[in-house]
Symmetry: C2
């Protein structure tokens, strides 16, 4: 009699978890993917949803659709509450799911460096909810500015501060500047898009610090060309409902957006494991939890060293490669073959875009900027979007935006209302219209 | 010295209000359009958003974009709280807006015939919020059914009751049946789409009562072919969180959807005017409020008699025609010309679709059903969608759905969570996973 089929449980349907699940397609095992959302999100384009360039459906695909044809895969929509290591079970509230092999791919969220009280004033961007809430805030700021009673109120409503000049911050700042200066220009009568102020604040010495210095400088110049104020070497020292302090300087702003840091999901707590300061669990070069060869950690929740002593960066390609590695290791065990040699991250380079026609690409030997890099960025992102359907739609949307300067997804779904529930208020109290969340 | 420019205020940016605003483009007047939403909604396709066929951006367009190039138009995003008839001012909370001519086009919402307590159990479908909430409920019902502990729970989760067999009810029932039986069939492991039960309840003697009898009968047969149970001449006598009563019969259902009646917006209250039972304000054949020739009422908030004693129906073409009439009457006054003769509604016919390949069209002399009517329905709806962009996207989406049986917009945006806030619960209490709103 043969042994029972191995149960492989994967927590998280992001880039890491999904690539692991797919790589297990032909392995003789039952694969269960758990996520508390019903969709896989193409996070690199999330800033486009927040700035009304793309609709949620264009960057998200139901996990069930993606794994529909994989006969050995089951999808569970639920929230993990813990992991019972000794008994090899994943806790889902009262229920538990047994596993023989576990892959933890729970990702990360934004971090406020110990200033969690800033979260309500400076929302971050990790999920579709975040993006839709941000889109609503940004669009309603323009609406409130159009009816603002004083010049000071209008200026505050039209000032956008983006904290952190990594790829997300740079892309957000560029997209907001374009939204304000071009797409919305003709739509309002009193305010004109030109009046909006976008400030990108970075505590470090340069924007896009993971790129080479030449491309960092190019990114700064491109942003300034779009009208973004780039403040390098300046840290936010205070953040409240009315704006931010940069040391002595005060910037009044109705919208502050946080793109400055990440904090791993609570996988470390569930496992009682050692983590780095960002909450990432230290794993061996085979991606397993020390003392638990049956538990793999991949992606942004893991602190992976590639053998040279450098941490593998928290980017989508690294998560995908780790997912494939973990799947191969599990397949080898099940087949009784030796495990693959230790995980090695192949760095294919870095990409970031700065609005229409400008981008930077750092591919090691090859560095690109300007229109060529932008075209490369478009092609790469569309290529990696899962599903033909999304690809076609995104291409059409970008072509449309490019030709018309239009933004297609400029919807505020909920009605504004005078019966305010208090949350997420955009208009200042002096204004007649209070805007409900 | 010439008189100051006339101020025309339009409340509502639906079909009626927008068509009035556009028809005033070349009139020497300041036109202000007030809406509490930032978008115009193509309501006839709302059921497709609720059933994950289309995304919100595909049927909604920002009002500012639509009126961008109309120099005499201003858009105000705000909620009207009243109308000061003697002083000719619209109240927006503390603020007021003066008018010389007023067009009230505030539409309607769903009505529960005095059983407002049913609203929480049987949501209706009038706004994008409604549609997204319904999409979430429908998709999460399948997720909960997949992990249901008992057969009875599963059956209840997979039973959908649609109340009211007008065009909206028929289109919803057909779309849910298709979603359940085809699009979702391959995505789940335990439940199979075939098990879902869709019941369409109608108190009157036939479906699509505004169509001729032959087409009503065809619609019923087509729905039954899709697996919908059509219950004619049966009224809902009770509606609670677990299902509905139809007289003696009980149907356990996690999702009950209300498509049975409409109630006009509170325009009648604002104006202190006489209304019919559905809250529609009685207006003269020139669409003005009796005693107030400067106040027009159009669309679903008005009770318009076309001279033959019949009420003009609450459909988009009627609202558009009334908007154009009101604009012409105002233009004539401003130019000192005689007013156009009384409003006459030109009925171009009725259309309704019942899933893939089946529809009914009642164009007076011409009656169509089946594939020809479906093709006509598609062409007509795409043609009337405002904006080239939306048209192209909808065509592509329909082509895609038709070829693949896929549904593109199957997103549940928010994460499921164990920290439940109590609202909009889909899973039954016995199940381990509680699903938050």
């Amino acid at each position: 009699m043969s042994a029972p089929r191995q149960k492989v449980v994967i927590i998280g349907a992001g880039f890491g978890g999904l690539s692991a699940a797919r790589a297990l397609e032909n392995v003789d095992a039952d694969v269960t993917v758990i996520d508390r959302r019903n969709h896989h999100l193409f996070q690199p384009l999330l800033y486009q949803v927040a700035t009304a360039g793309l609709a949620p459906t264009q960057i998200a695909t139901p996990v069930r659709s993606i794994l529909r044809k994989q006969a050995n895969a089951t999808v569970v929509l639920d929230e993990v509450t813990g992991i019972d290591l000794p008994n090899r079970r994943v806790r889902l509230g009262d229920r538990t799911l047994p596993y023989d092999q576990l892959i933890v791919a729970t990702g990360a969220t934004h971090a406020y460096f110990g200033r969690d009280e800033w979260a309500e004033h400076a929302p971050g961007l990790k999920s579709l909810e975040d993006a839709l809430a941000l889109r609503r805030r940004i669009l309603l700021a323009f609406e409130s500015a159009e009816v603002a009673a004083t010049e000071a109120q209008r200026d505050r409503l039209l000032t956008f501060v983006v904290v952190g000049a990594g790829p997300t911050g740079v892309e957000l700042a560029g997209a907001i500047a374009e939204l304000a200066r071009r797409a919305l220009t003709c739509d309002f009568r009193k305010i004109r898009g030109q009046k909006a102020r976008v400030v990108l604040v970075e505590a470090g010495p340069r924007a896009l610090a993971t790129f080479c210095e030449g491309l960092s400088a190019y990114a700064k110049t491109s942003l300034e060309h779009l009208g973004v104020e780039v403040r390098l070497g300046q840290a936010v020292t205070r953040c409240d409902g009315d704006g931010v302090d940069l040391g002595e300087e005060r910037i009044d702003a109705a919208n502050v957006i946080w793109a400055a840091g990440v904090q791993a999901s609570p996988a470390g707590l569930w496992l009682g494991a050692e983590t780095d300061r960002a909450g990432r669990v230290f794993v061996g070069t085979d991606l397993t939890l020390p003392g638990h060869p049956e538990v793999f950690l991949i992606g942004d929740c893991a602190r992976i060293c590639d053998g040279t002593g450098n941490a593998v960066p928290g980017v989508a390609p690294a998560a995908k490669q780790a997912g494939v590695y973990a799947a191969k290791a599990i397949a080898a065990r099940i087949a009784g073959r030796p495990a693959p040699p230790r995980f090695r991250y192949s760095d294919h380079g870095n990409l970031a875009t700065i609005g229409r026609k400008a981008a930077v690409a750092d591919l090691g030997a090859v560095k690109m900027s300007g229109f060529v890099a932008w075209a490369f960025w478009c092609a790469a992102h569309v290529y990696f979007l899962i599903g033909f359907r999304n690809r076609l739609q995104v291409v059409l949307d970008w072509a449309w935006s490019y030709l018309t300067f239009e933004r297609g997804a400029r919807l505020v779904i909920e009605a504004v209302s005078r019966g305010n529930d208090g949350a997420d208020e955009v208009a200042s109290p002096q204004e007649p219209a209070r805007i409900a969340s």
